[in-house]
Symmetry: C2
Subunit: 349 residues, 2 copies
Amino acid sequence: MVVELELPAAADFHVHLRDGELMKTVVPTIRNGGVNLVYVMPNLVPPVTSVARALSYKADLEAIDPSITYLMTLYLCNDVTPEVIYEAKKAGIAGVKSYPAGVTTNSDAGVVSYEAFYPVFAAMEEVDMVLNLHGETPPREGVTVLNAEETFLPTLLDLNKRFPKLRIVLEHCTTAAAVEAVKKCGPTVAATITAHHLYLTIDQWAGNPHCFCKPVAKLPSDRDALVAAAVSGDPKFFLGTDSAPHPRSSKQGSKTAAGVFTQPYALQYVAEVFQREGKLDGLKAFACEYGRAFYKTKELGFESDERVAEKLVIRTEPSDVVIDGYGDGDSAVVPFLAGQKVWSLQWKQ
Amino acid sequence: MVVELELPAAADFHVHLRDGELMKTVVPTIRNGGVNLVYVMPNLVPPVTSVARALSYKADLEAIDPSITYLMTLYLCNDVTPEVIYEAKKAGIAGVKSYPAGVTTNSDAGVVSYEAFYPVFAAMEEVDMVLNLHGETPPREGVTVLNAEETFLPTLLDLNKRFPKLRIVLEHCTTAAAVEAVKKCGPTVAATITAHHLYLTIDQWAGNPHCFCKPVAKLPSDRDALVAAAVSGDPKFFLGTDSAPHPRSSKQGSKTAAGVFTQPYALQYVAEVFQREGKLDGLKAFACEYGRAFYKTKELGFESDERVAEKLVIRTEPSDVVIDGYGDGDSAVVPFLAGQKVWSLQWKQ
């Protein structure tokens, strides 16, 4: 039975919009994925470490598509002091993203020990900004791409204990262990779940560069735990696609850039998983509401009433074919499930 | 301290030499890797399932480089009957290779259940031919690239029990569990270990198509168990590189062909691992002797005295740079550790 499902606009709390030409390719695809609010990751080269740079980046994004709400975040490093936090809060910046050094794309300037940043976290707690954690232990003896997230979880629990009022998001969680850790934390700790991690396990990215990302997709039991968390109705889990576009030349080179590009079909991918689980009525909470609530988008004035009121319709029938690539040849960006059919989505006028 | 190490020629008991143009590229690299005897896998398209085809393939290989001894094997499928085994034995074919259906490159015609092949195995046991097992459970619920080998091990133990005199090689073993299972079996069961699995773990092939192969490299603890088995002096473990060349276009395409190309530097790669472990004096047994002994190359008349008498010298100093690719552009075959330095190797005249 084909259903037409009316929903508010989805919000995607973890996106990589890049800069330069790639930004011009990617930003125009956001609305196609049913999204009108995005939380923009700061891992440009060089990373976004100052308020001025974040605001100028935001202006660049708005120039391309002013119909999207862009929530900005700073890249945690020594430049980000408590003073910068106060300045950022005033400027309407929503959070600070922490990358463990060397773990993911463009994270060379990331943190190693959190202790030096306790004063920064205290300031963030004071002014109610969000800390976004890339939750993986940096490479060291005994740490692999498979257990890097799980070995990070004690750090998450510790930070929650030290800063109980600090809102923390464990980004793109990929393991059953992470889901359990987030549940165990207080109500100020939440997690984003990507679209692709609701689909993939290790067998899919082994041999497929377009399914390879960090954190890597793990075992079927982990994928099942993510799906269960997403459809559970627990407000601690909400959508953050970690859509990470790379040109084909970087995905199909002698090394494979980490990242799955899901932006243009973000809500469509997720919706089919909810239907498969018999939980289509929970899609709205996961993709549209819980993230906005956690980020206090209304309370903190991030979104206009007009944008909140936008509606879209998803038709529950595979009818749209995922585009093979955005752009030309080697510089094209290949979306997740390219060539396969997904549900159609239309914005209501 | 740089040492000049004199060794007999190495023997590589698991090679993919392909056919057509790729064969003409790959075969001439064998001697560069210190090898003068190879056990040639039958997974061409279509696979080598008849004695006539195996002999014609052998003639093709000898036409390219007659200074190599080629041991031939048949691809296990319904065409391979006990009668074919008797014919193969007479024709000097050394063994039969079994691929679980769909698990590795060109294995679509492989076996699913072994029971139908018990009469074939009985005939092989009778005439003393070797059974080569690709030891991975085919895809099914609960099986991933990580546990496919471990879930296969009960089958290995069972086959050894049913056919205690049948010589069986667990090919390209990749896990600590496989090493233990092979040790537990009777003396007719051995295992090949590749060069690249002495180096790689999951973290190296995650994001590097040229390090991706099946079975995939596993955890550091598994890699360490393979290194320990290789240098242990246990004659059940010997070299079989599973060198698996693919053109760059297949390694860096939208899907990644499984296989690491180690042929041109087979012995050089292995030698450095033995030195790192302080076991350089065990290299000869692992790379030159144990495989020949298990395959009874002398007793069964596979090798000429002249070839057995060949010697080479390895100089224990990184001085040769691994070639970037054999062939041109997209059809070039990229060897393992391309661009890095390895020890130099020279045949004695």
